[in-house]
Symmetry: C2
Subunit: 301 residues, 2 copies
Protein backbone atom coordinates (compact mmCIF):
# COMPACT_ATOMS: atom_id res chain seq x y z
CA UNK A 1 0.00 0.00 0.00
CA UNK A 2 1.42 3.36 -0.94
CA UNK A 3 1.30 6.12 1.68
CA UNK A 4 -0.32 8.39 -0.90
CA UNK A 5 -4.02 8.14 -1.71
CA UNK A 6 -3.46 7.69 -5.42
CA UNK A 7 -6.24 5.88 -7.23
CA UNK A 8 -9.96 6.38 -6.93
CA UNK A 9 -11.54 8.35 -4.07
CA UNK A 10 -15.23 7.85 -3.27
CA UNK A 11 -16.73 10.64 -1.17
CA UNK A 12 -20.17 10.05 0.32
CA UNK A 13 -21.49 13.48 1.24
CA UNK A 14 -20.00 16.08 -1.10
CA UNK A 15 -20.56 19.00 1.25
CA UNK A 16 -18.12 21.37 2.93
CA UNK A 17 -15.91 18.65 4.45
CA UNK A 18 -16.10 15.91 1.81
CA UNK A 19 -15.86 18.43 -1.02
CA UNK A 20 -12.87 20.21 0.49
CA UNK A 21 -11.08 16.88 1.05
CA UNK A 22 -11.60 15.97 -2.61
CA UNK A 23 -10.49 19.38 -3.88
CA UNK A 24 -7.34 19.37 -1.73
CA UNK A 25 -6.25 15.87 -2.85
CA UNK A 26 -7.04 16.59 -6.49
CA UNK A 27 -5.10 19.83 -6.24
CA UNK A 28 -2.13 17.94 -4.80
CA UNK A 29 -2.34 15.33 -7.58
CA UNK A 30 -2.95 12.60 -5.03
CA UNK A 31 -6.09 11.08 -6.54
CA UNK A 32 -6.79 9.91 -10.08
CA UNK A 33 -10.55 10.36 -9.92
CA UNK A 34 -13.24 11.34 -7.45
CA UNK A 35 -16.68 9.77 -7.25
CA UNK A 36 -19.22 11.89 -5.40
CA UNK A 37 -22.31 10.39 -3.75
CA UNK A 38 -25.03 12.52 -2.21
CA UNK A 39 -28.67 12.95 -1.32
CA UNK A 40 -29.58 15.74 -3.70
CA UNK A 41 -28.96 16.02 -7.42
CA UNK A 42 -28.56 19.82 -7.25
CA UNK A 43 -25.62 19.67 -4.86
CA UNK A 44 -24.04 16.84 -6.89
CA UNK A 45 -24.35 18.89 -10.09
CA UNK A 46 -22.65 21.77 -8.31
CA UNK A 47 -19.90 19.37 -7.17
CA UNK A 48 -19.37 18.38 -10.82
CA UNK A 49 -19.30 21.99 -12.00
CA UNK A 50 -16.82 23.00 -9.30
CA UNK A 51 -14.51 20.07 -10.07
CA UNK A 52 -15.09 18.49 -6.66
CA UNK A 53 -16.10 15.19 -8.31
CA UNK A 54 -15.62 13.58 -11.72
CA UNK A 55 -18.67 11.32 -11.50
CA UNK A 56 -21.65 11.61 -9.19
CA UNK A 57 -24.49 9.42 -7.94
CA UNK A 58 -27.50 10.02 -5.78
CA UNK A 59 -27.88 7.51 -2.96
CA UNK A 60 -30.60 5.57 -4.77
CA UNK A 61 -28.46 5.08 -7.87
CA UNK A 62 -25.96 2.21 -8.28
CA UNK A 63 -23.00 3.91 -6.64
CA UNK A 64 -21.75 0.86 -4.71
CA UNK A 65 -20.40 -0.60 -7.97
CA UNK A 66 -17.71 2.11 -7.73
CA UNK A 67 -16.35 0.68 -4.46
CA UNK A 68 -14.56 -2.46 -5.65
CA UNK A 69 -11.54 -0.67 -7.12
CA UNK A 70 -11.61 2.39 -4.87
CA UNK A 71 -8.44 3.21 -2.93
CA UNK A 72 -10.27 5.25 -0.30
CA UNK A 73 -13.89 5.78 0.71
CA UNK A 74 -14.68 8.81 2.88
CA UNK A 75 -18.04 9.05 4.62
CA UNK A 76 -18.64 12.76 5.18
CA UNK A 77 -22.30 12.79 6.22
CA UNK A 78 -24.05 13.53 9.51
CA UNK A 79 -23.11 10.73 11.93
CA UNK A 80 -26.71 9.52 12.18
CA UNK A 81 -26.54 8.33 8.57
CA UNK A 82 -23.40 6.25 8.98
CA UNK A 83 -24.83 2.93 10.26
CA UNK A 84 -26.90 2.59 7.08
CA UNK A 85 -23.95 3.66 4.93
CA UNK A 86 -21.58 1.11 6.49
CA UNK A 87 -24.17 -1.58 5.83
CA UNK A 88 -24.57 -0.39 2.25
CA UNK A 89 -20.84 -0.38 1.42
CA UNK A 90 -19.74 -3.52 3.28
CA UNK A 91 -20.59 -6.10 0.56
CA UNK A 92 -18.94 -4.07 -2.21
CA UNK A 93 -15.59 -2.96 -0.79
CA UNK A 94 -12.43 -4.13 -2.55
CA UNK A 95 -9.86 -6.11 -0.59
CA UNK A 96 -7.51 -3.11 -0.57
CA UNK A 97 -10.09 -0.35 -0.10
CA UNK A 98 -9.51 1.81 2.96
CA UNK A 99 -12.58 3.36 4.60
CA UNK A 100 -12.60 6.51 6.68
CA UNK A 101 -15.12 9.06 7.90
CA UNK A 102 -15.33 12.68 8.96
CA UNK A 103 -17.84 12.33 11.77
CA UNK A 104 -17.80 14.71 14.73
CA UNK A 105 -18.26 11.82 17.19
CA UNK A 106 -16.20 8.66 17.15
CA UNK A 107 -17.45 5.99 19.58
CA UNK A 108 -20.79 5.66 17.81
CA UNK A 109 -19.18 5.62 14.36
CA UNK A 110 -16.68 2.97 15.45
CA UNK A 111 -19.50 0.84 16.87
CA UNK A 112 -21.50 1.17 13.66
CA UNK A 113 -18.48 0.26 11.53
CA UNK A 114 -17.66 -2.73 13.72
CA UNK A 115 -21.22 -3.99 13.44
CA UNK A 116 -21.40 -3.71 9.65
CA UNK A 117 -17.98 -3.96 8.01
CA UNK A 118 -16.95 -7.52 8.89
CA UNK A 119 -13.37 -8.27 7.81
CA UNK A 120 -13.07 -4.80 6.26
CA UNK A 121 -13.31 -3.27 9.76
CA UNK A 122 -9.51 -3.53 10.07
CA UNK A 123 -9.24 -1.13 7.13
CA UNK A 124 -11.60 1.43 8.70
CA UNK A 125 -9.78 4.46 10.10
CA UNK A 126 -12.08 6.69 12.18
CA UNK A 127 -11.28 10.36 11.62
CA UNK A 128 -12.54 13.80 12.56
CA UNK A 129 -11.30 16.90 10.75
CA UNK A 130 -11.93 19.79 13.15
CA UNK A 131 -12.88 22.36 10.56
CA UNK A 132 -16.57 22.94 10.97
CA UNK A 133 -18.28 26.04 9.71
CA UNK A 134 -21.73 27.49 9.51
CA UNK A 135 -21.40 27.15 5.72
CA UNK A 136 -22.38 23.93 4.01
CA UNK A 137 -22.71 22.27 0.62
CA UNK A 138 -20.28 21.68 -2.26
CA UNK A 139 -20.35 25.42 -3.01
CA UNK A 140 -18.59 26.05 0.33
CA UNK A 141 -15.80 23.52 -0.39
CA UNK A 142 -12.24 24.81 -0.58
CA UNK A 143 -8.91 23.10 -1.26
CA UNK A 144 -7.41 25.14 1.59
CA UNK A 145 -10.03 24.47 4.28
CA UNK A 146 -7.84 22.05 6.24
CA UNK A 147 -4.54 23.93 6.14
CA UNK A 148 -3.20 24.15 9.68
CA UNK A 149 -6.36 22.55 11.10
CA UNK A 150 -6.44 19.57 13.47
CA UNK A 151 -7.57 16.17 12.23
CA UNK A 152 -7.98 13.52 14.93
CA UNK A 153 -7.65 9.82 13.98
CA UNK A 154 -8.94 7.23 16.45
CA UNK A 155 -7.62 3.87 15.20
CA UNK A 156 -8.26 0.71 17.22
CA UNK A 157 -5.72 -1.96 18.23
CA UNK A 158 -7.01 -4.09 15.34
CA UNK A 159 -6.78 -1.32 12.74
CA UNK A 160 -4.29 -2.07 9.94
CA UNK A 161 -1.30 0.31 10.45
CA UNK A 162 -0.94 0.71 6.69
CA UNK A 163 -4.54 1.94 6.48
CA UNK A 164 -3.85 4.45 9.27
CA UNK A 165 -0.79 5.67 7.39
CA UNK A 166 -2.75 6.07 4.18
CA UNK A 167 -5.43 8.18 5.88
CA UNK A 168 -2.83 10.13 7.86
CA UNK A 169 -0.93 10.87 4.63
CA UNK A 170 -4.10 12.04 2.88
CA UNK A 171 -4.88 14.54 5.62
CA UNK A 172 -1.28 15.71 5.75
CA UNK A 173 -1.47 16.29 2.00
CA UNK A 174 -4.52 18.49 2.71
CA UNK A 175 -2.29 20.59 4.99
CA UNK A 176 -3.84 19.34 8.23
CA UNK A 177 -2.11 18.52 11.53
CA UNK A 178 -2.92 14.92 12.44
CA UNK A 179 -3.35 13.80 16.05
CA UNK A 180 -4.06 10.24 17.27
CA UNK A 181 -6.46 9.68 20.17
CA UNK A 182 -8.71 6.91 21.42
CA UNK A 183 -12.34 7.30 20.36
CA UNK A 184 -13.30 7.69 24.02
CA UNK A 185 -10.81 10.48 24.61
CA UNK A 186 -11.83 12.21 21.38
CA UNK A 187 -15.48 12.22 22.35
CA UNK A 188 -14.67 13.50 25.83
CA UNK A 189 -12.49 16.36 24.57
CA UNK A 190 -14.80 17.34 21.72
CA UNK A 191 -17.84 17.30 23.99
CA UNK A 192 -16.26 20.09 26.00
CA UNK A 193 -14.61 22.18 23.28
CA UNK A 194 -17.15 21.81 20.48
CA UNK A 195 -20.41 20.05 21.29
CA UNK A 196 -21.11 21.99 24.49
CA UNK A 197 -20.23 25.42 22.97
CA UNK A 198 -22.61 24.71 20.08
CA UNK A 199 -25.36 23.66 22.47
CA UNK A 200 -24.83 26.80 24.57
CA UNK A 201 -25.06 28.97 21.45
CA UNK A 202 -28.23 27.27 20.21
CA UNK A 203 -29.69 27.70 23.70
CA UNK A 204 -28.89 31.41 23.93
CA UNK A 205 -30.15 32.35 20.49
CA UNK A 206 -33.18 30.09 20.87
CA UNK A 207 -34.11 31.60 24.22
CA UNK A 208 -33.78 35.18 22.96
CA UNK A 209 -35.70 34.35 19.79
CA UNK A 210 -38.61 33.09 21.89
CA UNK A 211 -39.10 36.55 23.45
CA UNK A 212 -41.92 38.60 21.92
CA UNK A 213 -39.64 41.64 21.50
CA UNK A 214 -36.72 39.69 19.99
CA UNK A 215 -36.32 42.22 17.15
CA UNK A 216 -35.29 44.91 19.66
CA UNK A 217 -32.55 42.62 20.96
CA UNK A 218 -31.18 41.85 17.51
CA UNK A 219 -31.07 45.56 16.74
CA UNK A 220 -28.54 46.41 19.45
CA UNK A 221 -26.57 43.18 19.19
CA UNK A 222 -22.84 43.64 18.71
CA UNK A 223 -19.94 41.25 18.35
CA UNK A 224 -20.79 39.38 21.53
CA UNK A 225 -23.94 37.91 20.12
CA UNK A 226 -22.49 37.64 16.62
CA UNK A 227 -19.94 35.08 17.80
CA UNK A 228 -22.70 33.07 19.42
CA UNK A 229 -24.83 33.18 16.29
CA UNK A 230 -22.07 31.80 14.12
CA UNK A 231 -22.23 28.57 16.11
CA UNK A 232 -26.03 28.64 16.15
CA UNK A 233 -25.97 28.82 12.35
CA UNK A 234 -24.53 25.30 12.15
CA UNK A 235 -26.48 22.53 10.46
CA UNK A 236 -29.45 21.50 12.70
CA UNK A 237 -29.57 17.80 11.71
CA UNK A 238 -25.83 17.34 11.92
CA UNK A 239 -25.83 18.79 15.43
CA UNK A 240 -28.88 16.79 16.49
CA UNK A 241 -26.96 13.63 15.52
CA UNK A 242 -23.84 14.75 17.38
CA UNK A 243 -25.80 15.58 20.54
CA UNK A 244 -27.63 12.27 20.51
CA UNK A 245 -24.46 10.26 19.77
CA UNK A 246 -22.46 11.92 22.55
CA UNK A 247 -25.35 12.59 24.92
CA UNK A 248 -23.89 10.99 28.06
CA UNK A 249 -20.63 12.87 27.95
CA UNK A 250 -22.35 16.07 26.84
CA UNK A 251 -24.75 15.88 29.78
CA UNK A 252 -21.79 15.51 32.16
CA UNK A 253 -20.13 18.60 30.69
CA UNK A 254 -23.43 20.47 30.71
CA UNK A 255 -23.85 19.60 34.39
CA UNK A 256 -20.36 20.94 35.19
CA UNK A 257 -21.19 24.09 33.26
CA UNK A 258 -24.51 24.56 35.04
CA UNK A 259 -22.72 24.27 38.39
CA UNK A 260 -20.30 26.98 37.22
CA UNK A 261 -23.27 29.21 36.30
CA UNK A 262 -24.74 28.59 39.74
CA UNK A 263 -21.47 29.73 41.34
CA UNK A 264 -21.44 32.85 39.15
CA UNK A 265 -25.06 33.61 39.99
CA UNK A 266 -24.10 33.51 43.67
CA UNK A 267 -21.25 35.98 42.97
CA UNK A 268 -23.72 38.32 41.27
CA UNK A 269 -26.25 37.91 44.08
CA UNK A 270 -23.75 39.00 46.72
CA UNK A 271 -22.11 41.63 44.46
CA UNK A 272 -18.76 39.90 44.73
CA UNK A 273 -16.64 41.86 42.26
CA UNK A 274 -13.43 40.27 43.56
CA UNK A 275 -14.60 36.75 42.72
CA UNK A 276 -15.92 37.87 39.31
CA UNK A 277 -12.61 39.57 38.51
CA UNK A 278 -10.68 36.46 39.50
CA UNK A 279 -12.87 34.28 37.27
CA UNK A 280 -12.54 36.66 34.33
CA UNK A 281 -8.78 36.87 34.74
CA UNK A 282 -8.45 33.06 34.88
CA UNK A 283 -10.48 32.81 31.68
CA UNK A 284 -8.32 35.43 29.99
CA UNK A 285 -5.16 33.57 30.92
CA UNK A 286 -6.63 30.31 29.66
CA UNK A 287 -7.44 32.00 26.37
CA UNK A 288 -3.77 32.90 25.94
CA UNK A 289 -2.83 29.27 26.63
CA UNK A 290 -5.40 28.09 24.11
CA UNK A 291 -4.26 30.46 21.39
CA UNK A 292 -0.65 29.33 21.79
CA UNK A 293 -1.29 25.64 22.50
CA UNK A 294 -3.67 24.79 19.67
CA UNK A 295 -0.98 25.33 17.06
CA UNK A 296 0.82 22.11 18.02
CA UNK A 297 0.12 18.61 16.69
CA UNK A 298 1.05 15.10 17.71
CA UNK A 299 -0.42 12.41 19.92
CA UNK A 300 -2.22 13.72 23.00
CA UNK A 301 -2.22 10.29 24.61
CA UNK B 1 -24.51 75.55 20.23
CA UNK B 2 -23.30 74.18 16.92
CA UNK B 3 -24.32 70.62 15.98
CA UNK B 4 -20.65 69.83 15.33
CA UNK B 5 -18.23 69.11 18.16
CA UNK B 6 -15.78 71.79 17.10
CA UNK B 7 -13.60 73.11 19.88
CA UNK B 8 -11.75 71.20 22.53
CA UNK B 9 -12.47 67.53 23.26
CA UNK B 10 -11.37 66.04 26.60
CA UNK B 11 -11.23 62.23 26.62
CA UNK B 12 -10.85 60.52 29.97
CA UNK B 13 -9.66 56.99 29.19
CA UNK B 14 -7.65 57.04 25.96
CA UNK B 15 -8.16 53.35 25.21
CA UNK B 16 -9.86 51.56 22.32
CA UNK B 17 -13.15 53.48 22.58
CA UNK B 18 -11.97 56.92 23.72
CA UNK B 19 -8.99 56.82 21.39
CA UNK B 20 -11.06 55.78 18.38
CA UNK B 21 -13.62 58.54 19.09
CA UNK B 22 -10.82 61.13 19.17
CA UNK B 23 -9.18 59.80 16.01
CA UNK B 24 -12.47 59.75 14.07
CA UNK B 25 -13.41 63.32 15.04
CA UNK B 26 -9.91 64.62 14.37
CA UNK B 27 -9.92 62.89 11.00
CA UNK B 28 -13.27 64.51 10.17
CA UNK B 29 -11.94 67.93 11.21
CA UNK B 30 -14.60 68.20 13.90
CA UNK B 31 -12.36 69.01 16.87
CA UNK B 32 -9.67 71.64 17.25
CA UNK B 33 -7.70 69.83 19.93
CA UNK B 34 -7.89 66.68 22.03
CA UNK B 35 -6.84 66.42 25.65
CA UNK B 36 -6.21 62.85 26.80
CA UNK B 37 -6.46 61.83 30.46
CA UNK B 38 -5.50 58.37 31.67
CA UNK B 39 -4.16 56.18 34.45
CA UNK B 40 -0.84 55.21 32.94
CA UNK B 41 1.84 57.40 31.41
CA UNK B 42 2.88 54.69 28.90
CA UNK B 43 -0.54 54.52 27.27
CA UNK B 44 -0.79 58.33 27.26
CA UNK B 45 2.60 58.60 25.53
CA UNK B 46 1.38 56.11 22.95
CA UNK B 47 -1.78 58.21 22.49
CA UNK B 48 0.44 61.25 21.82
CA UNK B 49 2.62 59.36 19.35
CA UNK B 50 -0.39 57.98 17.48
CA UNK B 51 -2.04 61.40 17.23
CA UNK B 52 -4.97 60.35 19.43
CA UNK B 53 -4.34 63.31 21.76
CA UNK B 54 -2.53 66.63 21.53
CA UNK B 55 -1.94 67.01 25.27
CA UNK B 56 -2.12 64.34 27.96
CA UNK B 57 -2.42 64.16 31.73
CA UNK B 58 -2.36 61.34 34.22
CA UNK B 59 -5.27 61.37 36.64
CA UNK B 60 -3.17 62.80 39.46
CA UNK B 61 -2.03 65.74 37.36
CA UNK B 62 -4.00 69.00 37.03
CA UNK B 63 -6.20 67.94 34.11
CA UNK B 64 -9.42 69.49 35.41
CA UNK B 65 -8.10 72.95 34.45
CA UNK B 66 -8.70 71.84 30.83
CA UNK B 67 -12.46 71.49 31.40
CA UNK B 68 -13.60 75.12 31.57
CA UNK B 69 -13.35 75.82 27.86
CA UNK B 70 -13.96 72.27 26.62
CA UNK B 71 -16.79 71.74 24.15
CA UNK B 72 -17.17 68.05 24.99
CA UNK B 73 -15.90 65.74 27.72
CA UNK B 74 -16.10 61.99 27.07
CA UNK B 75 -15.65 59.54 29.93
CA UNK B 76 -14.45 56.28 28.34
CA UNK B 77 -13.38 54.30 31.39
CA UNK B 78 -14.80 51.20 33.08
CA UNK B 79 -18.17 52.17 34.58
CA UNK B 80 -16.95 51.54 38.12
CA UNK B 81 -14.65 54.56 37.86
CA UNK B 82 -17.33 57.00 36.75
CA UNK B 83 -18.78 58.13 40.10
CA UNK B 84 -15.36 59.46 41.16
CA UNK B 85 -14.82 61.04 37.75
CA UNK B 86 -18.17 62.86 37.77
CA UNK B 87 -17.31 64.24 41.22
CA UNK B 88 -13.87 65.31 39.97
CA UNK B 89 -15.12 67.18 36.90
CA UNK B 90 -18.26 68.78 38.34
CA UNK B 91 -16.65 71.90 39.86
CA UNK B 92 -14.59 72.66 36.73
CA UNK B 93 -17.02 72.29 33.82
CA UNK B 94 -17.69 75.34 31.65
CA UNK B 95 -21.26 76.58 31.30
CA UNK B 96 -21.41 75.28 27.70
CA UNK B 97 -19.45 72.07 28.19
CA UNK B 98 -21.35 68.92 27.18
CA UNK B 99 -20.48 65.71 29.04
CA UNK B 100 -20.96 62.21 27.69
CA UNK B 101 -19.71 58.71 28.44
CA UNK B 102 -19.13 55.40 26.71
CA UNK B 103 -20.16 53.07 29.51
CA UNK B 104 -21.65 49.65 28.79
CA UNK B 105 -24.37 50.13 31.42
CA UNK B 106 -26.52 53.20 31.67
CA UNK B 107 -28.74 53.25 34.77
CA UNK B 108 -25.77 53.28 37.15
CA UNK B 109 -23.91 55.92 35.12
CA UNK B 110 -27.01 58.14 35.00
CA UNK B 111 -27.44 57.80 38.76
CA UNK B 112 -23.78 58.68 39.36
CA UNK B 113 -24.00 61.69 37.06
CA UNK B 114 -27.21 62.89 38.71
CA UNK B 115 -25.61 62.66 42.15
CA UNK B 116 -22.46 64.57 41.21
CA UNK B 117 -23.04 66.98 38.34
CA UNK B 118 -25.53 69.44 39.84
CA UNK B 119 -26.79 71.95 37.28
CA UNK B 120 -24.49 70.44 34.62
CA UNK B 121 -26.54 67.22 34.73
CA UNK B 122 -28.82 68.65 32.03
CA UNK B 123 -25.80 68.74 29.71
CA UNK B 124 -24.88 65.08 30.39
CA UNK B 125 -25.82 62.75 27.51
CA UNK B 126 -25.45 59.08 28.49
CA UNK B 127 -24.11 57.03 25.57
CA UNK B 128 -22.96 53.53 24.75
CA UNK B 129 -21.04 52.80 21.55
CA UNK B 130 -21.56 49.08 20.90
CA UNK B 131 -18.13 48.37 19.51
CA UNK B 132 -16.36 46.33 22.15
CA UNK B 133 -13.38 44.20 21.37
CA UNK B 134 -10.92 41.97 23.14
CA UNK B 135 -8.26 44.55 22.17
CA UNK B 136 -7.58 47.51 24.40
CA UNK B 137 -5.36 50.56 24.82
CA UNK B 138 -4.57 53.54 22.60
CA UNK B 139 -2.60 51.24 20.28
CA UNK B 140 -5.89 49.52 19.33
CA UNK B 141 -7.67 52.80 18.51
CA UNK B 142 -8.88 53.32 14.94
CA UNK B 143 -10.68 56.18 13.20
CA UNK B 144 -12.94 53.61 11.51
CA UNK B 145 -13.94 51.56 14.59
CA UNK B 146 -17.46 52.98 14.78
CA UNK B 147 -18.40 52.91 11.10
CA UNK B 148 -21.75 51.18 10.77
CA UNK B 149 -21.83 50.35 14.49
CA UNK B 150 -24.70 51.08 16.86
CA UNK B 151 -24.39 53.86 19.43
CA UNK B 152 -27.22 54.05 21.95
CA UNK B 153 -28.00 57.39 23.64
CA UNK B 154 -30.20 57.35 26.75
CA UNK B 155 -31.10 61.01 27.41
CA UNK B 156 -33.51 61.88 30.23
CA UNK B 157 -36.55 64.19 30.10
CA UNK B 158 -34.41 66.92 31.67
CA UNK B 159 -31.50 66.52 29.24
CA UNK B 160 -30.87 69.62 27.08
CA UNK B 161 -31.96 68.72 23.52
CA UNK B 162 -29.05 70.75 22.11
CA UNK B 163 -26.60 68.61 24.12
CA UNK B 164 -28.23 65.45 22.77
CA UNK B 165 -27.89 66.79 19.25
CA UNK B 166 -24.23 67.65 19.76
CA UNK B 167 -23.42 64.13 20.99
CA UNK B 168 -25.59 62.53 18.31
CA UNK B 169 -23.79 64.58 15.63
CA UNK B 170 -20.38 63.57 16.97
CA UNK B 171 -21.20 59.87 16.76
CA UNK B 172 -22.74 60.30 13.32
CA UNK B 173 -19.50 61.99 12.25
CA UNK B 174 -17.71 58.84 13.46
CA UNK B 175 -19.87 56.84 11.04
CA UNK B 176 -22.04 55.27 13.74
CA UNK B 177 -25.78 54.58 13.67
CA UNK B 178 -27.39 56.37 16.63
CA UNK B 179 -30.39 54.91 18.46
CA UNK B 180 -32.26 56.51 21.38
CA UNK B 181 -33.51 54.34 24.25
CA UNK B 182 -34.33 54.79 27.92
CA UNK B 183 -31.50 53.75 30.24
CA UNK B 184 -33.73 50.99 31.62
CA UNK B 185 -34.44 49.54 28.19
CA UNK B 186 -30.79 49.80 27.20
CA UNK B 187 -29.66 47.87 30.25
CA UNK B 188 -32.33 45.20 29.70
CA UNK B 189 -31.42 44.67 26.05
CA UNK B 190 -27.66 44.77 26.57
CA UNK B 191 -27.89 42.35 29.49
CA UNK B 192 -29.25 39.73 27.11
CA UNK B 193 -27.22 40.42 23.97
CA UNK B 194 -23.88 41.37 25.48
CA UNK B 195 -23.48 40.97 29.24
CA UNK B 196 -24.91 37.44 29.41
CA UNK B 197 -22.93 36.17 26.37
CA UNK B 198 -19.72 37.48 27.92
CA UNK B 199 -20.56 35.85 31.25
CA UNK B 200 -21.31 32.53 29.49
CA UNK B 201 -17.98 32.69 27.68
CA UNK B 202 -16.01 33.49 30.83
CA UNK B 203 -17.82 30.60 32.54
CA UNK B 204 -17.04 28.07 29.81
CA UNK B 205 -13.38 28.95 29.43
CA UNK B 206 -12.95 29.26 33.18
CA UNK B 207 -14.54 25.86 33.84
CA UNK B 208 -12.40 24.12 31.20
CA UNK B 209 -9.25 25.89 32.43
CA UNK B 210 -9.87 24.50 35.91
CA UNK B 211 -9.55 20.91 34.63
CA UNK B 212 -6.17 19.30 35.28
CA UNK B 213 -5.89 18.19 31.63
CA UNK B 214 -6.93 21.55 30.16
CA UNK B 215 -4.00 21.55 27.71
CA UNK B 216 -5.48 18.50 25.93
CA UNK B 217 -8.74 20.39 25.43
CA UNK B 218 -7.05 23.48 24.02
CA UNK B 219 -5.13 21.27 21.58
CA UNK B 220 -8.22 20.00 19.77
CA UNK B 221 -10.23 23.22 20.04
CA UNK B 222 -11.60 24.53 16.76
CA UNK B 223 -13.68 27.51 15.80
CA UNK B 224 -16.39 26.67 18.30
CA UNK B 225 -14.23 27.42 21.28
CA UNK B 226 -12.35 30.19 19.47
CA UNK B 227 -15.51 32.29 19.25
CA UNK B 228 -16.09 31.79 22.96
CA UNK B 229 -12.54 32.75 23.82
CA UNK B 230 -12.76 36.03 21.95
CA UNK B 231 -15.41 37.13 24.42
CA UNK B 232 -13.48 35.68 27.35
CA UNK B 233 -10.49 37.77 26.31
CA UNK B 234 -12.35 40.97 27.19
CA UNK B 235 -11.06 43.23 29.94
CA UNK B 236 -11.66 41.60 33.38
CA UNK B 237 -12.16 44.79 35.40
CA UNK B 238 -14.39 46.39 32.81
CA UNK B 239 -16.59 43.30 32.80
CA UNK B 240 -16.61 43.00 36.57
CA UNK B 241 -17.97 46.56 36.72
CA UNK B 242 -20.61 45.83 34.07
CA UNK B 243 -21.78 42.66 35.84
CA UNK B 244 -22.01 44.39 39.21
CA UNK B 245 -23.78 47.45 37.75
CA UNK B 246 -26.36 45.38 35.88
CA UNK B 247 -26.51 42.43 38.29
CA UNK B 248 -30.27 42.31 38.83
CA UNK B 249 -31.16 42.21 35.17
CA UNK B 250 -28.26 39.91 34.37
CA UNK B 251 -29.40 37.44 37.04
CA UNK B 252 -32.88 37.40 35.52
CA UNK B 253 -31.47 36.64 32.07
CA UNK B 254 -29.12 34.06 33.54
CA UNK B 255 -32.08 32.38 35.24
CA UNK B 256 -33.99 32.22 31.95
CA UNK B 257 -30.92 30.77 30.28
CA UNK B 258 -30.43 28.16 33.00
CA UNK B 259 -34.05 27.09 32.59
CA UNK B 260 -33.39 26.68 28.84
CA UNK B 261 -30.34 24.50 29.63
CA UNK B 262 -32.50 22.42 31.94
CA UNK B 263 -34.98 21.84 29.11
CA UNK B 264 -32.15 20.88 26.76
CA UNK B 265 -30.68 18.50 29.32
CA UNK B 266 -34.06 16.78 29.49
CA UNK B 267 -34.07 16.44 25.69
CA UNK B 268 -30.61 14.83 25.84
CA UNK B 269 -31.66 12.56 28.70
CA UNK B 270 -34.59 11.15 26.74
CA UNK B 271 -32.70 11.16 23.40
CA UNK B 272 -35.26 13.49 21.87
CA UNK B 273 -33.71 14.28 18.49
CA UNK B 274 -36.93 15.87 17.23
CA UNK B 275 -36.97 18.47 20.00
CA UNK B 276 -33.25 19.18 19.57
CA UNK B 277 -33.69 19.63 15.82
CA UNK B 278 -36.61 22.00 16.36
CA UNK B 279 -34.56 24.08 18.81
CA UNK B 280 -31.56 24.19 16.48
CA UNK B 281 -33.72 25.19 13.53
CA UNK B 282 -35.42 27.96 15.52
CA UNK B 283 -31.97 29.29 16.51
CA UNK B 284 -30.80 29.18 12.90
CA UNK B 285 -33.85 31.14 11.74
CA UNK B 286 -33.29 33.69 14.50
CA UNK B 287 -29.70 34.10 13.37
CA UNK B 288 -30.91 35.06 9.90
CA UNK B 289 -33.27 37.63 11.45
CA UNK B 290 -30.43 39.00 13.56
CA UNK B 291 -28.03 39.31 10.65
CA UNK B 292 -30.59 41.21 8.58
CA UNK B 293 -32.19 43.22 11.41
CA UNK B 294 -29.10 44.60 13.10
CA UNK B 295 -28.23 46.75 10.08
CA UNK B 296 -31.06 49.22 10.80
CA UNK B 297 -30.93 52.27 13.07
CA UNK B 298 -33.46 54.59 14.67
CA UNK B 299 -35.39 54.72 17.91
CA UNK B 300 -36.42 51.35 19.28
CA UNK B 301 -38.92 52.90 21.66
Amino acid sequence: MSPSASGKLVVVGTGLIGGSFALALKGAGKVDSVVGVGRGRDNLDQALRLGVADRTYTRDEDWTAELGDAALVLLATPVGEMPALFAAIAPHLGSGTVVSDAGSTKRDVVAAARAALGSAFSRFVPAHPIAGSERSGAAAASATLFRGRQVVLTPLPETDPAAVERVRASWTQCGAIVTLLTAERHDALLSAVSHLPHLLAFALIGELASRPDAADYWRVAGNGLRDFTRLAGSHPHMWRDICIANAARLRADLAAYRRELERIDAMLARGDGTALSALFQRAGAARAALLSGRRGGGDVE
